[in-house]
């Protein structure tokens, strides 16, 4: 189930600032309170896929005295895609909540 939302999770993890793969995984773990315990490597196909789709851009960065890393950031299209996914997730989660709680349909 998480895999279906991985792209949106990665976009959200990059919303605050550009980051490299390891930092993205750390952000996901911290913000989900370790609920999303997925193999760390699965984030890389998602990063590649999102970059190919034009939602992310990346570049190699070498900090002084540090290790060379590929740093990803949201593009303008990525910011728009994240907003769109937030909206559709909001509708979806409200619908599931209504179903599970036995409530009537939420306001359209």
């Amino acid at each position: 189930m998480l895999k279906g939302h991985l792209d949106a999770i990665v976009l959200a993890a990059l919303e605050g600032a550009p980051a490299h793969g390891y930092a993205i995984i750390e952000t996901i773990k911290t913000r989900s309170a370790a609920t999303f315990d997925l193999p760390e490597g699965t984030v890389y196909p998602a990063l590649h896929r999102l970059e190919q789709a034009g939602l992310l851009e990346s570049d190699w960065v070498t900090p002084p005295g540090g290790r060379r890393r590929r740093v990803y950031s949201l593009t303008k299209a990525g910011v728009g895609a994240l907003a769109e996914r937030r909206k559709s997730w909001g509708r979806f989660s409200q619908a599931v909540e209504a179903m599970l709680q036995g409530r009537r349909a939420w306001p359209a």
């Binding site: 490299h20 793969g21 390891y22 995984i25 193999p39 760390e40 490597g41 699965t42 890389y44 196909p45 590649h48 896929r49 190919q52 290790r67 060379r68 890393r69 590929r70």
Partner: protein, 206 residues
């Protein structure tokens, strides 16, 4: 002796052999990730710290399989776009041949006109059904390719293009349609190779 991370990177590079450029880039990227993760481990420096970093990262072949599956989807989209271009070009070239044929005596009183027309129609029908119902399957692409190739060959026989003498406005579109169908053939073969590689990577993991 190679370290745990080095061994892992070597196996990741092997599993990504379907895309050498991606393999080089990802190996470097994953190396910095794994070294960061190992250094954050309380047992660093040790093989155990590296082993835990590798275990948290996941199996190399499973990660390679995800990349391979994405590459298949991308190549499939490109192949379908090539189908559209090849169908349009074949149709244009066919119409130009027919216009030219009406000015000359048709010498090929054979099956050629029938094959020219109906193989093309069959290719369009199979491509349409394939697009809507079996987009992830190779079969409609292969059938469409055969249909277009048969139609083009029959068109060439019909217009006597194999012996030469056709005007430039017939030869140029004919060359373009052959080039596009050639490109389509290459894409179908490449897609088949990528599908087999993906299945192989997924199969090893089960």
């Amino acid at each position: 002796m190679a370290g745990v991370i080095d061994s892992y990177l070597a196996s990741l590079q092997r599993d990504l052999d379907f895309d050498p450029a991606l393999a080089r880039r990802l190996t470097e990227e994953v190396e910095s990730h794994l070294r960061d993760a190992a250094e954050a481990d309380p047992a660093w420096p040790s093989d155990d710290a590296e082993r835990r970093a590798v275990e948290r990262f996941g199996l190399a072949r499973e990660i390679a399989a995800q990349f391979a599956a994405d590459a298949v989807a991308q190549q499939s989209r490109r192949t379908w776009l090539t189908v559209i271009a090849a169908v349009v070009m074949t149709f244009v070239a066919m119409r130009l041949r027919v216009m030219w044929l009406s000015d000359i005596e048709i010498t090929a009183a054979s099956l050629a006109p029938f094959v020219d027309r109906y193989a093309f129609a069959a290719a369009i029908a199979v491509a349409t059904v394939g697009w809507f119902a079996f987009r992830s399957s190779l079969l409609p692409l292969a059938v469409c390719l055969v249909g277009l190739a048969a139609s083009i060959a029959a068109g060439f026989v019909r217009a006597d293009l194999f012996t030469g003498g056709a005007p430039l406005h017939v030869l140029l579109p004919a060359a373009a349609e052959v080039a596009l169908v050639g490109l389509l053939a290459w894409r179908v073969v490449d897609l088949g190779r990528r599908v087999r590689r993906t299945e192989n990577l997924k199969g090893i993991g089960t």
